[in-house]
């Protein structure tokens, strides 16, 4: 890798890194609004159908949801650690940490898929023989439409993040990153942490309502 010199439009590598990081933060701001639209729809219909939303949320699999939250938080921790080790020139350790974080991402998707299968068997997929208590049928089906749209789009982000983590891990393995040059690694890490943040809020909105009733 001959990344020690900045690209032609930048005076220094530090300036190039600053631009790259601002770029990902700008992208993440658009992602906040992308998921924010879904969360707005959730708020509106939870306000409209509070009892149905509580009853529907009670049907989500909170054990899998909580386990998946722990999985993502842990993988985020590993990525944050990997970014520091790669900058310190320990590329091989960083590669292992990133690889492990990617495997945790895969575990997240496997658990999510298992959850989807159980919801399909429980007739909780709107449009596919959806069955629910008649009093809450409309509101519950809105909840589960949000559930599948939000978690499906989030799972897509996780899948993209896993690919990025493995690609970055391979480059870290070959010693591509250092204290001077690490922008791709840092940017990939920021994306992965953001996916984690989205899940933190989805977990609170999807799995926690209606548990105490």
């Amino acid at each position: 890798m001959s990344e020690s010199k900045p690209a032609v439009q930048y005076a220094t590598l530090a300036q190039q890194h600053e631009a790259a990081e601002l770029g990902i933060w700008g992208f993440l701001a658009t992602e906040v609004l992308f998921f924010g639209g879904l969360i707005l729809a959730y708020c509106v219909y939870r306000y409209g159908y509070p009892a149905a939303f509580a009853e529907a949320a009670r049907h989500t699999k909170i054990v899998i949801g909580a386990a998946n939250t722990a999985v993502l938080l842990t993988s985020s921790f590993l990525v944050a650690w990997a970014v520091l080790t790669a900058r310190a020139g320990q590329g091989r350790l960083a590669a292992r940490l990133l690889g492990f974080a990617g495997m945790l991402g895969l575990l997240f998707l496997v658990l999510k898929g298992y959850e989807y299968v159980r919801e399909y068997r429980d007739h909780l997929v709107p449009g596919m023989d959806f069955q629910f208590a008649p009093d809450h049928l409309g509101g519950a089906s809105l909840f589960f439409i949000f559930y599948f749209a939000a978690t499906g789009l989030h799972a897509l982000h996780v899948a993209i993040g896993i690919v990025i983590l493995f690609l970055i891990a391979r480059r870290a393995q070959h010693g591509a990153y250092s204290a001077r040059y690490h922008a791709p690694l840092t940017v990939a890490g920021l994306y992965w942490h953001f996916v984690d943040v989205v899940w933190i809020f989805l977990f609170a909105l999807i799995y926690l309502p209606g548990r105490s009733g």
């Binding site: 600053e18 990081e21 601002l22 933060w25 700008g26 993440l28 701001a29 658009t30 992602e31 906040v32 609004l33 924010g36 639209g37 969360i39 707005l40 708020c43 509106v44 219909y45 306000y47 409209g48 159908y49 909170i62 909580a66 939250t69 722990a70 938080l73 842990t74 985020s76 921790f77 990525v79 944050a80 650690w81 520091l84 080790t85 320990q90 350790l93 890490g189 920021l190 942490h193 953001f194 984690d196 943040v197 933190i200 809020f201 977990f203 609170a204 799995y207 926690l208 309502p209 548990r211 105490s212 009733g213």
Partner: protein, 124 residues
């Protein structure tokens, strides 16, 4: 281990797992209307830990912090302006007063255009 992780990363990770168990624990307590604010507060603290420690906002320039805050600022505008619509509607969701079981038809926005048609039709 030859290269242990920095203590602040480990502590943040443990704090995140602790907050996860805390929010699940609180979800099962009958706090009534407080359940949602508590869940959102804990989620926000978790997001703040991820943002400040893992995403290094504590070491970032003011410009990067402004970019990070911008998305949430506009999300706040989105939720606030949308709430000023939905929270002030006389009837939401539409049709909630027209219970098919009680058979009662109270004022309902769909009924308004119907009445207009009724008034206009005899004049023609």
């Amino acid at each position: 281990m030859r290269h242990p992780p920095p203590l602040r990363l480990v502590l943040s990770w443990l704090a995140l797992l602790f907050l996860l168990s805390l929010t699940v624990l609180f979800a099962y307590q009958p706090l009534g209307a407080l359940n949602l604010p508590v869940a959102l507060l804990i989620a926000s603290v978790k997001a703040l830990i991820v943002g400040v420690v893992f995403m290094e906002l504590n070491e970032s320039s003011g410009l990067k912090r402004a970019f990070a805050a911008a998305g949430f600022f506009w999300l706040g505008l989105l939720l606030w302006l949308a709430a000023s619509d939905f929270l002030t509607r006389p009837e939401f969701p539409p049709g909630m007063y027209r219970s098919h079981r009680s058979g009662q038809h109270t004022r309902h926005w769909i009924s308004v255009p119907t009445k207009v048609v009724f008034v206009i039709a005899p004049d023609q």
